[in-house]
Amino acid sequence: MATHWKKLSVLGMILILIVVLPMVTDLGSNIMNVMVTLFMYIILSQSWNLIGGYTGQINLGIVAFFGVSTMVTHFLWKAGVSIYLAITAGSLSAVILAAVIGLPTLRLRGMYFAVGTLALAQAAQTIVGNIFTRTISMPGSFSTNYSLTPRYYLGLTLVVIAMLVVYAVTRSKIGLAMVAIRDDEQAAQVTGVKVFKYKVIALLISAVLSGLAGGLYAYVRLSFYQVFALFSPSWTFDALLAVVIGGGGTLFGPVIGSIFLVVLSEIFVNTLGQAHLIVFGFIFILVVLLLPEGLMGGVDVVRPWVYRTRRSSQ
């Protein structure tokens, strides 16, 4: 119980730091940008964590939810709707898309679901790319008073919401069903779990989070020169990478993974340029092969080893 409070207080302190720092000092736009990007990745990776990490359904097309929400948020906001409503609407549209995609594909076996979602995301990219061939941008009035601060705090709020959602869902009956489905779908079915229903629920909640990330992105970016890139599979890949590295099926795994991802990106983009994508690919495969539980699980691997060496040295 003591460790529980210790963890919570450490968390609380970090949270307070993150909240208060920008108010007292000027962190500079670079750091603020990185933080906002981090927030976005945390939310997006939590989205994949829900459907992939907890429920075991490998969704290779979450970028579709992300992109749709970004677009809807963008246009609503441009039309004069408040950003908060716009993001909510964006998330809603992501959920609707998830229902449309999910209902047919979730009935399929794992492999077909994976490739099906990949295919649909590709189709979305092609369709959207064909419709919106030119840049979509905001009128000048939006960019004149652009400040990262509200975006920072909105991002932070959304991260907290996302974490709370994951916490609540995974500790509820839904979460129990999700994990049962992941561990042994047949057994779950046989013991009365309504597998299809919970897969759909998991996907819908996952879509909400992807939608939040997308809405945040619309708020941060304002204009998009290549709408095509909004639906690029690299968003899906990054989310997967963050979850796999950090540890799927855990509350903080995606957070750790996102931090890892963002930090590495910052380091590599300057030194390797395009090649950093390739390096990430290798890291991804290595982690899947060697550290299936990610860094969170790595702790469980390291701890007994450390304990053993400490004991033997006494």
Partner: protein
């Protein structure tokens, strides 16, 4: 009448290519129960090898097929040795499948980005002296490259069929597919069988790549589309049934081609997708399931 024959010819030609694309993917999936999402990338790389052999050394693409197959075979061996064999330690089939999905997603990522980095995102295709020429068949015209692709696809399908049904290696493959434990107990080196199957699958992907770069074009990220095509064919053929892949591909090609008589060709992909989902929902074991 000519239009109909034309449509049928085109349908058969493209259907054969679809089958060729699916054969490599189906081999890995049927034998090892792994999904290779990077299959499309393998096809594209095969195309690039042929492209560079042609552009730098002037070798005709169809003559370069043995070389392409060799390179791709090696890639398949590496894929198995490094990435698939560690997965065998998981006893449960679903876990192996999921891991293979993740890993090959990563492989696709690496391959596609490496190719983009090395050779730019530009579209490539091989244009030879005979690229544009056509042959008259029953009053309709069939492109020379289309015909070549057709012949190659049939050749590969037949050779594979003979390999699987009449050679000892083929018996090992079938035994390992039906019960890998019993196969081991019978003296079959299952790991080596898997290894070679992976190599063959990659080599076949390479041949598909050669046909595609000569008949159409390739881009670094184009592999995904071919992967999806392969999946649709596999679903039509019924998982694990390599024998039915050729007919399934032909059917898909014909349906798509005939549909162009009624709707615009822009709907080709959505049509394939719809067929995919319909068959999965109503005939999950494939079109040929009742024949068992």
């Amino acid at each position: 009448m000519n239009a109909v024959i034309q449509t049928v010819l085109i349908g058969i030609a493209i259907g054969a290519l679809y089958a060729l694309v699916a054969l490599g993917f189906g081999l890995i999936m049927g034998v090892m129960k792994f999904v290779n999402i990077a299959h499309g990338s393998f096809i594209i790389i095969g195309g690039y090898v042929a492209y560079w052999l042609f552009t730098l050394l002037g070798i005709d693409p169809y003559l370069s097929i043995p070389a392409v197959m060799l390179v791709m075979f090696a890639m398949g061996l590496i894929l198995y040795r490094l990435l698939f064999s560690p997965l065998l330690k998981y006893p449960r089939a679903e876990m192996r499948l999921d891991k293979s999905l993740l890993i090959t997603f990563g492989v696709m990522w690496i391959l596609d980005n490496t190719v983009t980095l090395l050779w730019t995102p530009d579209t490539r295709s091989i244009v030879t002296s005979y690229t544009g020429s056509t042959i008259d068949i029953l009053g309709a015209k069939l492109g020379f490259t289309g015909l070549a692709g057709l012949i190659l696809a049939f050749l590969v399908a037949v050779i594979l069929h003979i390999l699987i049904t009449r050679t000892y290696f083929g018996k090992h493959v079938r035994a390992a597919t039906q019960d890998s434990g019993a196969a081991s107990l019978s003296g079959v080196n299952v790991q080596r069988t898997y290894l070679i199957s992976c190599g063959i699958a990659a080599a076949v992907a390479g041949v598909a790549g050669v046909v595609i770069v000569s008949s159409y074009s390739i881009t670094p990220s184009g592999g995904l589309n071919w992967l999806l095509t392969a999946m649709v064919v596999i679903v039509l053929a019924g998982e694990g049934n390599i024998t039915y892949i050729l007919p399934a591909g032909l059917i898909l090609g014909l349906v798509q081609s005939i549909s162009t008589l009624f709707v615009s060709s822009a709907y080709q992909e959505p049509i394939a997708l719809i067929i995919f989902i319909l068959v999965l929902m109503f005939k999950p074991k494939g079109l040929f399931a009742s024949r068992g």
